[in-house]
């Protein structure tokens, strides 16, 4: 096997705890559920796990944003680790999946357990919703009333509306498309139908973004076993990593990003496509980050599914992005409807799709899937297949 190192890598198992709103479960309890499920799904035992990583691995629970540390999980499971990474970089999102892939392709580990736990719904239920950036103490933000990433997302949206004529009625289809798929997903938090009138009537959060443009704080843990393809067995149903992109061009700053015609997604997508002979037309199903709806539109353009400025028209009406459309998109419902698992929900769903285990929302014959996460200065993208 030649090519980029990540092509040596498979996702051999996936696991998910109970997920939803205000489960009232301990973060560690959810994490153990997801990790044991992923290990069992890979046909392995905990003693087979020799790599371990999560993000963010930092002190404090930050309103349910931070789960158990790598140190704690290693201790509890008594893992003999040949590689580990408790990631602290604030721009990580799914960066730990890329790191795990590098570790197994470098043969530092055979089976890396990657996990991510969120209990934001329970944490927010206990007190006033956390203003993430408001607590950052960053004087360049707080001094000007900037307390949430939604305000940056809104300025990217405003730029797109102004420059390309994109409308709220078009942007709505990111939410509407996700919601109709969520109706077919038993794990989704919001599954009842959403109409364009519901969307347009909802309260504004930061113009032009309203309530349904913002994802839902949720509770739940996800885990993946990332393995070297040499260690797969005939009985496994692996998902193969074809290529990945992790680039962060220009700056790490949300506040001082130089040009709202771009996001880090553009550099990341370019890197992804430079590492594979496949292209946008080969993708059967996509999960594109919808922490804020506008990011999905900008990823569509960055990845070349449509031209610059054309994403509003691309999603409008929902035909192209439905389960039988040219690009089935956010088939789990995405973070807007399934729940906010900060990227891991998209990977979980893509593995279900590529193993043809997605039930009523299965994209028939899906072979190539693309997951791309982040917005603004954050971006990672993974091209996955079920073909060896």
């Amino acid at each position: 096997m030649t090519g980029v190192p990540e092509r040596q890598v498979i996702i051999s198992g996936v696991g998910r705890s109970a997920v939803g709103r205000r489960l009232g479960r301990e973060s560690l309890d959810l994490t153990l559920d997801a990790c044991l499920a992923a290990i069992a799904d890979a046909g392995l035992a905990p003693s087979d796990i020799d790599g371990l990583t999560t993000w963010p691995d930092i002190k404090g629970e930050l309103g349910g944003f931070v789960g158990p540390s790598v140190a704690q999980m290693q201790q509890l499971l008594r893992l003999d680790l040949s590689w580990h990474l408790g990631a602290v970089d604030g721009g990580n999102v799914l960066g730990v999946l890329a790191e795990a892939a590098l570790a197994v392709s470098a043969r530092l580990a055979r089976h890396v357990l990657v996990y991510r736990t969120l209990t934001e719904a329970s944490a927010h239920g206990a007190r006033k919703p956390r203003a993430v950036l408001a607590n950052s103490g960053d004087p360049w933000l707080v001094t000007y009333g900037v307390g949430s990433t939604v305000q940056f997302a809104a300025m990217w949206a405003q730029h797109h509306f102004h420059t390309y004529g994109t409308t709220r009625e078009q942007l709505a289809w990111v939410a509407l498309n996700g919601r109709r798929h969520a109706a077919l997903n038993p794990d989704a938090i919001f599954a009842e139908p959403l109409t364009i009138d519901d969307y347009l009537r909802a309260r504004m959060i930061s113009e032009p973004l309203g309530l349904f443009d913002c994802d839902i704080p949720s509770d739940g843990a996800h885990a993946l076993v990332v393995s070297h393809r040499d260690f797969r067995r005939d009985t496994d149903a692996p998902v193969f990593l074809e290529a990945m992109g992790v680039a962060r061009p220009r700056t790490s700053s949300w506040a001082f990003w130089p040009d709202l015609d771009e996001m880090a997604a553009d550099g990341c997508a370019e890197q992804l496509w430079s590492r594979t002979t496949l292209g946008p037309s080969d993708v059967d199903v996509a999960g594109l980050y919808d922490g804020f709806s506008i990011f999905t539109l900008l990823w569509l353009e960055a990845l070349g599914f449509c031209g610059r400025g054309e994403s509003g028209a691309f999603v409008e009406g929902g035909e192209r992005t439905g389960l039988t459309g040219i690009l089935p998109l956010n088939t789990s419902g995405g973070q807007l409807s399934e729940g906010r698992y900060v990227g891991f929900g998209f990977v979980h769903e893509m593995c279900q799709q590529l193993r043809h285990r997605a039930g009523g929302r299965q994209v028939v014959g899906a072979e190539v899937g693309l997951v791309a996460v982040g917005g603004g200065p954050l971006a990672q993208a993974f091209l996955l297949t079920n073909r060896s």
Partner: protein
């Protein structure tokens, strides 16, 4: 208005003092490279263009344009009653310099993309916070 919580006061350090206090003299002060002369923001100890470490402050015109903005409808920060406008302002002196700021002195509904704006200063404790209003 007296009952409203105060707006945040930024922590000032040696690097940022001139930005936060230039308003005492009605001046918008921006960091510039002593070698290549280019402006940059936020203040830092190194020029992002030529990586020279000699940094100075210069007084700019205070004129700019609204690169993008959002009318904030949900409250996030004490002292900021909704609605208020958060904007990216490009400086006329060097348009690749973007300031994250507020647009004041105008109905939030009246703010437009590309609008010409000028710096004004909001007194908060010992600092003068640069914000922008439509050019008169």
């Amino acid at each position: 208005m007296g009952a409203e919580p105060a707006r945040p006061v930024p922590v000032v350090d040696d690097l940022t003092r001139e930005f936060w206090t230039g308003g005492e003299r009605g001046e918008l002060r921006i960091t510039a490279c002593a070698e290549c002369g280019r402006l940059f923001h936020p203040p830092g100890p190194i020029c992002p263009s030529c990586h020279c470490r000699r940094i100075t402050y210069v007084v700019v015109s205070g004129s700019g344009t609204v690169d993008s903005f959002t009318v904030v409808r949900r409250p996030w920060i004490d002292g900021y009653e909704t609605p208020y406008v958060v904007a990216r302002v490009r400086l006329r002196d060097q348009p690749d310099v973007v300031l994250l700021s507020n647009i004041v002195g105008v109905d939030p509904e009246e703010v437009r993309m590309g609008m010409d704006v000028e710096a004004v200063f909001e007194t908060r404790a010992q600092v003068q916070v640069p914000v922008f209003r439509p050019t008169r």
